[in-house]
């Protein structure tokens, strides 16, 4: 390793230890500690740097209209309702009157297939996502993701209403809770 050379003394041994200046005075300094420090700092900053930028899913929701008259009218035959239930349950049905509720799940064979089929059948499809209070954020993101995968741009997040509750309760059957009008 590099060091300051102090071995000049030996040359002028008989002259009472007086150092004769050599022609070349080596100017090497031991740089090892400096390198150590630099490497340490380098490692620290590399590790501290946030390498991984978070991924985001962009979500655009329809504007909240203050007046009901501004709401676009949609034929109920074009409306696909997706209800996110508790315990990762998922229901879907078309329209509101005489709606045929079907249960499905978040897998590729479930929701994605439903969306694929329905968007192929009907190119005016509007999807209403209705999360129940018991559903989780993951359910919501999964659903929105499936909508993006199937490139369905017309969707909205809608409140889970009493009418929907009636439909789901009628489907699951087990719920004795009376459905208030």
């Amino acid at each position: 390793m590099g060091e300051v050379n102090t071995e000049q003394r030996s040359k002028g041994g008989d002259k009472g230890g007086i150092v004769k200046k050599g022609k070349k005075m080596p100017t090497r300094i031991d740089m090892t500690p400096m390198v150590d420090l630099a490497a340490l700092l380098l490692t620290f900053f590399i590790l501290a740097t946030t390498f991984i930028k978070p991924q985001v899913m962009q979500l655009v929701l329809p504007e909240k209209n203050q007046e009901d008259t501004n709401q676009p009218k949609v034929n109920e035959k074009n409306v696909l309702n997706i209800v996110l239930g508790e315990d990762n349950k998922l229901y879907w049905y078309i329209g509101f009157t005489q709606a045929q509720v079907t249960e499905t799940n978040y897998t590729d064979a479930g929701l994605r297939k439903v969306l694929q089929e329905q968007s192929n059948l009907n190119d005016k499809l509007v999807v209403l996502v209705k999360p129940q209070d018991e559903s989780t954020y993951e359910n919501l993101v999964d659903t929105l993701d499936e909508l993006t995968i199937n490139s369905i741009a017309r969707y909205a997040l809608v409140d889970f209403a009493v009418e929907d509750k009636a439909l789901i309760d009628a489907f699951t059957g087990g719920s004795p809770a009376p459905v208030g009008g």
Partner: protein, 200 residues
């Protein structure tokens, strides 16, 4: 033929270029590093297929923990200071100059504004050990609205980001999304993880 005497090389290595390079890199990393902001709580984000990356600056992030508490953070010390001044004015929090300074150096907020002054006067370790109650988002007392509105006033380029935990129940999410929409923010970003399993 005379034998050529091998020159004895001392094992000295010229480290100067290496040191140069090291310091160049150190400088580079020092300049570019922005420390990852802390979240107060551990958040497991849901998976999605999206591959859009979130830019590092101009984010207003709303963090929603699994138990339904809401936190808020944004970046830019100058903007934060202005944000603090605005909130101070509106809610008459009585923050002093030094408290505003502390406010602008916070990485996030998760308390009702009435508890802000007290929180700012805690030491760093005390702050870490405090369980924050979260920002109120309920109708009637929705302080998140003000955080969003004033952030957008002091920094018009800000984009709203929602970082929710997988298991958060929908009502809180709805309150947050409603608050955003009440401020006319209809375009926002949900932080997700890359889907680990292969698709299709």
């Amino acid at each position: 033929m005379a034998k050529v005497k091998m020159q004895r090389h001392s094992p000295v290595l010229d480290m100067t270029p290496m040191v140069d390079l090291f310091f160049l890199l150190v400088t580079f990393f020092m300049m570019t590093t922005t420390f990852a902001p802390s979240d107060f709580v551990t958040i497991t984000t849901p998976h999605a297929t999206s591959e859009v990356k979130l830019p590092e600056t101009n984010n207003g992030t709303i963090v929603i923990s699994a138990d339904g508490r809401v936190f808020y953070r944004t970046d830019g010390t100058k903007n934060l200071r202005k944000l603090g001044e605005r909130l101070n004015e509106k809610y008459s929090l009585g923050l002093t100059e030094s408290e505003l300074e502390k406010f602008s150096r916070q990485t996030g907020y998760g308390m009702p504004l009435s508890g802000l002054k007290q929180f700012l006067n805690l030491t760093d370790t005390q702050q870490k050990n405090t369980t924050l109650p979260g920002i109120p988002v309920d109708k009637g007392q929705n302080e998140l609205l003000d955080w969003i509105v004033y952030t957008r006033i002091v920094n018009p380029d800000v984009r709203m980001v929602v970082k929710g935990d997988k298991t958060t129940n929908y009502p809180v999410i709805k309150k947050v999304l409603d608050s955003l929409q009440d401020c006319n923010v209809n375009r926002f970003n949900l932080i997700t993880d890359k889907e680990t399993n292969t698709l299709i």
